[in-house]
Structures are given as structure tokens and as C-alpha cells.
Symmetry: C2
Subunit: 87 residues, 2 copies
Amino acid sequence: MSHTKKTRTTVDIYGKTYTIIGDENVHHTRLVASIVDDKMNEIHQANKSLDTTRLAVLTAVNTVNDYLKLKDDYDLLLKKIEEKEDL
Amino acid sequence: MSHTKKTRTTVDIYGKTYTIIGDENVHHTRLVASIVDDKMNEIHQANKSLDTTRLAVLTAVNTVNDYLKLKDDYDLLLKKIEEKEDL
């Protein structure tokens, strides 16, 4: 565990209040919360019958999917750099 | 919108069944679902009083946070490649 100072940030996501404790600054945590809120609203617009739990789970599913795609791109880029350095 | 064939995959995440429709193959979608399920269990272990909706929202918050960190790393790497190419 790190011993850096933790920040506590209160944010609203999809009508509920959350206190997020972490290493990130308040500005960053608010940005993350607003992205989650936007994504939940977006999925709600596409499928209005989903309850809040399902909306949040599907938001997490979408984001993990985006993460894995970006990770593939990142690894490709890293390989490209390593190949260049080998020349 | 793309016209590629969509796959439908049924997955279990934190005790509920979801049908995920997307461009990804079944194997990939199951991997994504298992990552979300693991994260929800992890957050539940750290804070057992959270209800499922809050757990799901905090899982989404964590995944978006991880995504943004990786995006920063990706952008740094891209900048590094561009600088090398300018030499």
C-alpha cells in the first residue's frame, strides 16, 4: 500500500452521491465521475428498460472493452519502438 | 454504424445474466465480463456494506480511471515515437 496522501472527492453519478477516496486529485476524480455519468445516460437512452445496476455494469463492460482495445494498441506501439531501437 | 455481423453473448456478472451484443467474438466478451465480475468482487471485499448498484457504479469509476491512465501512457509513447521520427 502506498503512503501518499489520499483525497476524498464527493461526486454525483446518475442521481446518487459517492465519496471517492484515492490518489487522484479532485479535478481528475470529477472528470472520471462525469465520464461514467455520461456513459450511463448514453446506455439508458439506447435501452430505457435497464435498471441502474445493469446500466452501471454495462458501463463497466464497455469501458473494460475500450481498455483492452487501447492496451492492444499500446502494446503494438511499444513493439514498434523496440524494433526501431534494435536497428 | 457498421454493417459487420453482431454477436450475442450471454454472460453472468455478479449473479445477474447479461446479453452483450457487439462486434467482438464470444471469447473476448467472456473475458471482458470476467474482468468486470472480478472487479466487483474485489470492491465488495473491500467494502461489504455497498449495495449492488453502488458496487457497479464504483466498478465503472475504477475502469474509467484505469482507461484514462492507460490513455496518458499511450499518448506519451506516441509522442516519443513522433520525436524519434523527427530526428
